[in-house]
Homo-oligomer: 253 residues x 2
Amino acid sequence: MRSSQPAGLLPQPPSPITDDGDEEHFCHSCSFSSACNAVGQGKPELNALQCLVEHVGPYQGGQHVFRTGDPFRSIFAVRSGTVKTSVVDRDGREQVLGFYLPGEVIGLNAIYPDRFPCDAVALETARFCRFQFPAMSALASRMPVVQQHLFRLLSKELGAATLLAGDHSADERMAAFLTDLSERYAARGFSSTSFHLSMSRGDIANYLRLAAETVSRVLSRFRSQGLIEIEGRELTVSDPEGLRMLGQNLLPS
Amino acid sequence: MRSSQPAGLLPQPPSPITDDGDEEHFCHSCSFSSACNAVGQGKPELNALQCLVEHVGPYQGGQHVFRTGDPFRSIFAVRSGTVKTSVVDRDGREQVLGFYLPGEVIGLNAIYPDRFPCDAVALETARFCRFQFPAMSALASRMPVVQQHLFRLLSKELGAATLLAGDHSADERMAAFLTDLSERYAARGFSSTSFHLSMSRGDIANYLRLAAETVSRVLSRFRSQGLIEIEGRELTVSDPEGLRMLGQNLLPS
DNA sequence: GTTTTGAGTTGACTAGGGTCAAGGCGCTCT
DNA sequence: AGAGCGCCTTGACCCTAGTCAACTCAAAAC
């Protein structure tokens, strides 16, 4: 199953960025690790999970992983790369819903409508673990720990969505966004103070419900205040605590 | 179990508003009906569900059903009355997260943190079905239909939270809010064109991330445009289609 | 090498909605 | 009845962030 490729895509040589790395380490930093590990500890259910997990990709930057309205059949855990989810409203305007880093899961919001309610686009070359959902759901019935994990993932995402809905200033939003990204990178074993923004200013602006110009201005202001250093899409957080203070009202707990 | 009361509350005579009504009809309009019905069709699991459901209340308007930080032990289905959920941020400002009508479920966002992440306050005399969650979760493992129902409820709420996060004008937000309320009342068997707003203008404003004055102004404008009639908290929707058009970008599907 | 294109930055102006303030209406409590 | 209070409405003003526009820069296309 390691070698499976989506139809129509040529396999390409692995690069340092997109290489899956060793399974042990990758799974350790994956949102599903507790579920997967629970299954993978020599129990007979191991085979069950292996049947419903499939490694897919690579998707090149700009390619769709799924589109609004596609029938819901599986959820995806990001193995490498970054993904943006978005909807387009009736006026044709895009609304960015979220960015997903390696180890995070997309597609959970499709369970209810039974169709994907948003687009998912790779921002850079990306690979995934694809979990067949009906089978996953069935497995969850037999394995409480898997069920619990799904409940928690859903509930967690619900909490995250709620935070963005508050009325907050541009500075608060940006500070919270950067702090959140920093912590998510840290949780996956990357540097928390220095990383690459894989999304454009426009995407950030859209996600934070600001104008692209405002994002530019706020970043410039943060730089002149010594909170961050930024050049293009390379970001260094100089004052993590200062940023955290600014964004605290938007951050969990 | 029908007669259980929270400690410290005197039973009070049922009123037309707060009376549970007959079980059959109530359950028919409840979000949990498909799960409950599946369980209650003469199967042995009937007893299991009855053990974990408890009818609680009445809570008077202003009373807390649960508070932020309370340990998570159960979810609640509203049987009668209306409930507001909210958080207070570090500056002490309240943020209204949602309003819940009879037949709707509160507490799902507590699964992940394992504590309630928000307050829930009755806006008017309210009664509930309380479901012990660990037991419910265990039941879900044995009964796929219950599990599926929980997944769907969570995923549905996730979709709803996402909609509020967009950047929309005051008019769009208010129109979508009224249309949504109207449809939820209709789904529960009440009039969709004429109903009582159980929350204050301030609560509506807070929920929609507007100022109370703006809510007032928008409602006045809607009235002068012939979209609604409103007197105090009594609302009549004169032009449902017009409202729907206005709020369409915020409404599901 | 030149042109084109798109992302990003910065400045000037504008507008939607927040804030402040005053006043009306309908409660409840003496 | 009168006082007090909370909720609501309306008006005047202001501020944050959006819009429009000009310009830079780097990478891709020719």
